[in-house]
Structure formats: structure tokens, C-alpha cells
Amino acid sequence: MTISLHGLTKVFPGGARALDSLDLDIGEGEFFALLGPSGCGKTTLLRSIAGLETPSSGTVSIGGADVTALPPGRRDVAMVFQDYALFPHMDVTANIAYPLRIQKVPRSRREAAAAEVAGRLSLSELLRRRPGQLSGGQQQRVALARAIACRPKVFLFDEPLSNLDARLRLEARTFLKRLQGELGVTTVFVTHDQGEALALAHRVAVMDAGRITQVGAPAEIFHRPATTFVASFIGSTPMNLLPGKVAGDALHVAGAVLPAPPGLPDGEEIVYGVRPEYADLSAAPRDDAFPGTVAVLENLGTSTLVTLEGGGDDGDLLVQVVVPEGEEPPAGTAAWAVPRPGRALIYHGDRLIHPA
């Protein structure tokens, strides 16, 4: 089922504007991520699709039908909450079968359906347990099973992985992506973890202050962030965003002289972005590199994140570079960070102008 939002606005009593005239189309069978920092409105957006929030204006359509005025129970959606919201007094079977109980499916049929879904999610051994007797990962699978059992048109997940510990989260992520692919049901999920959004989703919407800043496939969001906000938010190591100035056909950025893309007026202020992974470290001075002193080395396992300080005119800029194993510079030495050609992003007036 497709989901369409038009001019969706939500103003809470007290004046907080959580959604600001937002338009969005989500395709059939798509795995769609709403990504943003806390307070950006992503959860309000998800809850508006579920019907748990009534928008101040605008419409929500599911499968082409306007559901803005429908209560949550009549929208044929299933939601998995961040805290899972499993009913503590019901065992796993009763929890999974609860949506069917509401639909007045006879007990024997709904218990059979619950057992079948539970089998698919490797919960067969746990059917008589109560939620309090399950681990976090098992609780999460029960919550998923309950959502699957009612065969909804749309799945809505609120931070589905955030309550799992780090290792389990990676396993659950792979599991969730495979499950969504097999079920083929349109799925919208909310996350503040950019890695999760990039890994799981077919498309990602990056949100900020109640608006969508950029929508696109993970690769597009990663390689061509539309604004410096998206650039700084996406990526496991934060992108270097350095102020610079156009001087003829060159850019002067943090002590480096770099080629300028055509069409920029002389003297304009720009922001030069390059990911630490897309820069190399040089021990010899170079004109097209950011100079600095090696200040911090952070071991990332197969690579090391090196922070250079002392770049720029007043010497307070930090530039980060990821270097491969075995090539770490000694701390305190001078080094030059060389951005790889073709990987740099140039922002003018907070809009991406290069690569065009």
C-alpha cells in the first residue's frame, strides 16, 4: 500500500510546531526510514500515520484512501512501539493473538495463527512465557509477531532496535530487513541512528524542525547530502565541514588551495565538506591539503580516526581523516589531510552546489 501525506501540519497545544506543512509519498512495499535528531518531528509523523495524533491540517492517505479522520483501529496499520508495549499480564500467545481477539476471530483459530507466526520468528518455545520472562531480543520479536499476526497493510516501527544492546542490534537489523523483504508490506520506521536508516531502508527521509530536508536512497543521501545539516548528520564519523572562500578559479579552505567548480562568483563564502574516509594523510607539505598537528588518534578496529588541529587562519579548525591499519602517524607530528578529488562537497548558502 502506498502512503501519501499532503500539507501535514501538527501544532501541539502550547504552540510547538512538530510538523510543518509536510508532503511525502511512500511507495508500495517500500521500507522507508524517517531519520532525524530528537525533537525533529519524526515520531509525531509516524504517530500521525497511525492515527494516534490528529494533524492540525493536511491529509494522510493509505492505499489512495483518505484516512485522516479515521481512528487508528480502522486504518489497517500495525505499530511496534519503542518499548514494545507487550501486555505484561498476557503470555506470548495471548499477546500475538490480541489483534485477532479484537477482530473476533475464534480462540482456536487465533491461537493457531499466533503459533504459526511465532514459529516463523523462532518463538515456538516461548509461547507460554510472560513478557517479563523474555530477553530484550525475544520481546522485540514478540512485538513484531503481534504486528504481523493482524496482516496489516502498513507496518509502523518506532525506533525498533534502540532498546537492544549493540551486538543484538546488528543481528536484529539483518533479520528485520530480510523479514520486510519476505513480507513485502510497506513499512515506515523512525530512527535517530543514521547507520540503521542507511542499512535498513530503501529510501530515507532526513527530518529537521518538522520538515523533510532530503528524501532519497541511502547511497544518494550519503554521497550527496543536500544541506550541511544532512551532511553532518549522516555518516558514522562526522563529516569535515570547513569554511572557505572563492578566489578566482581556486578555493581557499583551512590553509589549502583547492580547485573551484565553475560558476562561483569571486569572493563568495562557501563550506567545503569532505568525509574523513575520503581524505588521505600526507607527511609531506602539499598545497592542496589541510595542514595541522596530529592531536588525537581513535582506533576504529580496521582503521584509525586521526584528528588534526591547528588548521585554518586562526588555527582552531579540526580536520579528521580515517587512515588504514598500520599507517597511523605519531601523535604531535605535523601532517596534511588531502581530500580525494571527486569526493568533496561544496555548499553555498547551505545548499549543495558541487557536485551539481
Binding site: 483501529g73 500495525a78 507487550l86 501486555f87 481477539r101 479484537i102 510472560r130 517479563g132 520472562q133
Partner: protein, 274 residues
Amino acid sequence: MNAVRHALGRIASAVFLSVVGAFFALPMLWLASAPFDATPSITVSVPEFTLANFRAILDNPYALGSIGNSVIQAGGAAAVVVVLAALAAYALSRVRVPGRDVLLYVLLLLSSVVTGTAAMVPIFELATRLDLIDTHLGVILVVSGGLLPAAIFILKDFMDATPTSYEESARVFGASPLQILRHIVVPVVRPGLATIAVWAVASVWGGFLMQYILLRDPEKSPSAVILYTLYTEGGQPNLDLISTFSLLYSLPVVLMYLFVSGRYGFRFHGGIKQ
């Protein structure tokens, strides 16, 4: 030297605790021994065993019936308090009402006045005009009114502690408000409801003043009021009957505690990952 001081300290604390313990234990011992004593006094002694006191109390025309009256009044009040307090606490916990907390505190403050002596005259007047004097209903309504604010206050805490995601989850699956209340909220706050029910029964069971004032007819009086009438012809407290009736009077409440804690004991199976 230190060891001696330590030993003395231990002895002193043991003596102190024993004395305090004795203060609590002696009345209980009296309650256990006096009813079986042929000549009970206000001291605790090994009884001269007899069951004659129980025969005597059964011959009292109002004694057994009064326990029935207590059951009706305490049970009725508990039912009224649990149902109304649960609905009110749920609403107050889930709906943002301006001045909600002030309302709760004022109610709590007033409840000590309503149950207390200060409002006695107007309550009696009101009960008279509504023809509620000498009725179980009158007692039930008046004592429930006194218990409700505190019950709402306590239950609201239980409701607040229940995550709204339980209800929202059920709502998304299509459950109606009544289904949510029946399937989710009531079972989850059951320990709270049991607490309130036990507390209401125990308060009404031990309540005297309201019942004494609102009921003229000894046929309708509860045990606590009847206990007050057990005097000898000479105007002395009849200790044979009082001790025996006190024991009978205590038993139902003790049984209720055992039943409730056995059945609805304070279990909570978390379904929310903290």
C-alpha cells in the same frame, strides 16, 4: 572495653525491641486467650478453657446479624470506591485537565473533613432529607464519599505508572475504549485495585462514628456499633462477650487479607523494557 560496650549496646537494643514487641503482642494475646476463658479480665492469663462465651454471643439477638451488616456495608462501599476511583483515576491520569493536581489536593484535604466529625451535622441532615437514615445505602454512600479522594489519589499513581503505549498499542489494533479498560488497564492495575478494595473494606469494617449516627435500628448496625452495646446490666463492659465478639469480628478481615494476598498478591510482570 569496646567488646563490653558493644555487648551492652546489643543487650539494650534487644530489651528495647522486646518491650516494643510486647506492647504489640499483648493485646493480640488477650484477643486469642480471653474468648476461651471462663472469667476473662483485662489481663492476659492462661485461660480456664470454655466455649460458653461463644454460646452466649450466639444468643445475643444482634451479634451475628451485625457481622452480616458489616459485610454488606464494607463490601458495598469497597465496590463503590473501587469502581468510581478506578474510572476517575484513569481519566485524571490520561486527560490533561487544567488545575488537575490542585483538584486532587483539595479533594484529599476535604476528605479528612468529610469523614471526620466536622461535617457530621450537615451529612446527617442531608441523609435525613434523602430518606437514607437507617439504610445500608446511606452508610455505603457516606463512607464511600470519605474514602474516594484518597483512593483516587493512590490509584492515579498506579495509572500513571502504566505506560500509555499499552493503550495506544491496543488502539492501533482496533480495541474500543471499553475493551482497553477491560483487557489492558484493569488487569495491569489489578494490584492497585486489590489494595484499594482491602483498604476500603478494612476502613469501613473498623468505622464506628458514621454508622453509629446514620443507623438507629440495631438490626442494621454493623459489628463495630454492636460491640459498643455489649455491657452488663450493671453498666460494666461485659468482657466475656466483648472479647469473644472481638475475635469473631476480626476473623473476616484477616481471612480477606489472606485471600487477597494469595490471589492478587503484588506481582507485576514487566512488559516494558526499562
